[in-house]
């Protein structure tokens, strides 16, 4: 039995282990950043130096970054499944029928593999840094859809708590604060889900500033479908399709992504109260 000082033991314990980042990770980061644009900051001196913005406009591949995170109104965390399913294994499934929290689903409808995961419970943080309970649909190369309920968003390093009460008018107004040019379709419906198609004009690129405001990453030419999915009486999920139709992706991607998003949105409906 050890009788040594626990502090000393802890120091020794934490000294052990790798302390070198493998080159392959560094290389992967280089590739990642080459594909991803930096977010815009609404400062005049930034507009002239955002080289990556210009580069991003020419990138053919999808830049699956950033996202919109909004909450229709503040309220309790939505009950999207009372019993987390203790399985993280990919489950072959098309996006119909009940989706279960804590399960990762795979979709094979498109050429690229899609996966999405419904977190079991509690706040989580997705790879783009958004803290929330979230549902993600992420194709490996063609774009992404991210669903957030945002009920418990931490005001973290990049994504703030934000409240948007009227969709998509607030999105549109907010984007225009940054000199954006957005066309919003009339409201369309999938059952009780409302959605709008956004088309972003040539001046459209929006980040957020100052911290504490909602943010979306958009580039000129992008098309987005924005869903508002009522979960409870006072909480909605806002879902954005992501990165479709710009930089050479073309409408063929959009044509695939939007029906898939529609299907997914409809599949969420069992979780509504």
């Amino acid at each position: 039995m050890t009788t040594r000082d626990p502090q000393q033991l802890l120091d020794l314990f934490l000294e052990e282990g790798p302390a070198v980042l493998p080159d392959r990770v560094l290389e992967a980061v280089r590739e990642d950043i080459h594909r991803q644009r930096q977010r815009a900051v609404m400062r005049p001196w930034r507009f002239t130096t955002m080289r990556t913005y210009l580069a991003a406009a020419a990138v053919v591949a999808v830049v699956a970054i950033g996202g919109g995170v909004f909450l229709a109104t503040r309220g309790p965390a939505p009950n999207v499944g009372s019993t987390p399913v203790p399985s993280g294994l990919p489950t072959p499934a098309e996006a119909n029928g009940a989706l279960r929290p804590g399960v990762t689903y795979k979709l094979s409808r498109m050429g690229a593999a899609f996966t999405f995961e419904i977190p079991a419970t509690g706040p989580t943080m997705v790879a783009d840094g958004v803290g929330s309970r979230s549902l993600r649909l992420r194709p490996t190369s063609l774009g992404a859809i991210t669903f957030h309920d945002a009920a418990a968003l931490p005001n973290n390093f990049c994504h703030p708590t934000g409240v948007i009460t009227r969709l998509p008018g607030d999105v549109q107004r907010w984007l225009r604060k940054g000199g954006s040019d957005v066309t919003v379709s009339p409201t369309q419906h999938l059952g009780s889900v409302s959605y709008w198609d956004l088309t972003l004009g040539p001046r459209c690129y929006s980040g957020e500033e100052p911290p504490g405001q909602p943010e979306i990453y958009f580039s000129a030419g992008e098309h987005h479908r924005v869903f508002e999915i009522p979960i409870t009486g006072d909480v909605s999920v806002v879902a954005f399709t992501w990165g479709s139709g710009y930089g050479g992706e073309g409408d063929d991607v959009l044509a695939q992504l939007n029906p898939l998003a529609n299907t997914l949105v409809q599949s969420i409906k069992p979780y509504k109260r």
């Binding site: 120091d11 560094l26 840094g129």
Partner: protein
């Protein structure tokens, strides 16, 4: 020293950012591994953190605060990874005979098992404060900044984590003692 690179990277210079990652990557890996206790998860977290940092870099106002800012991103991503993998296999620990008269600067296998078990029981947020405090040698105020949490929260997390580790070591020691008594 990093500020010039941060400045260039903030303006979209990928080479500068690559140089930054070279400069800070090892430390990030060390932090992530120690929080997550898994090299593969740690690599994923570091890659995500660095990529996120690139994306968010224009929002960083104080170039001298790059590393604390990056560590905050990294820690948050480690929390995610840790919670996501909570369903991963639990501790698999063997009963290992105590090694007596161990030099003070080494851990016995039993020490390591006890510590590993105790550490894995901690919430990732508490693991992080231990790593930042004991491994990086940061003061509580500094680790609060690195983790983006209030000072009081940092203090309480450190206190609880330390108590929990101490309790884990003592509990395991008691269990080992009881086991020996039964065998005797």
């Amino acid at each position: 020293m990093l500020a010039p690179l941060v400045d260039r990277a903030q303006q979209g210079d990928e080479e500068a950012f690559a140089a930054l990652t070279q400069a800070v990557g090892d430390r990030c890996m060390a932090i992530a591994f120690r929080i997550l206790r898994d090299a593969s998860l740690a690599e994923d977290a570091v890659q995500m953190a660095l990529t996120t940092a690139w994306r968010e870099l224009p929002a960083l106002r104080d170039h001298d605060r790059f590393e604390p800012w990056l560590h905050r991103i990294l820690a948050n991503l480690c929390y995610v990874e840790a919670k996501r993998r909570r369903r991963m296999p639990a501790d698999v620990l063997a009963v290992v005979p105590d090694v007596l008269h161990t030099p003070d600067d080494t851990l016995t296998v039993n020490d390591r098992d006890q510590l590993e078990r105790g550490f894995r029981r901690l919430p990732p947020e508490q693991r992080a404060v231990l790593v930042f405090h004991h491994y990086l040698g940061l003061t509580v105020a500094e680790l609060a900044e690195h983790l983006g949490i209030p000072l009081g929260t940092a203090k309480s997390r450190l206190r609880y984590a330390t108590l929990a580790m101490r309790g884990a070591l003592e509990a395991d020691a008691r269990a080992a003692g009881a086991s020996r008594e039964r065998l005797a």
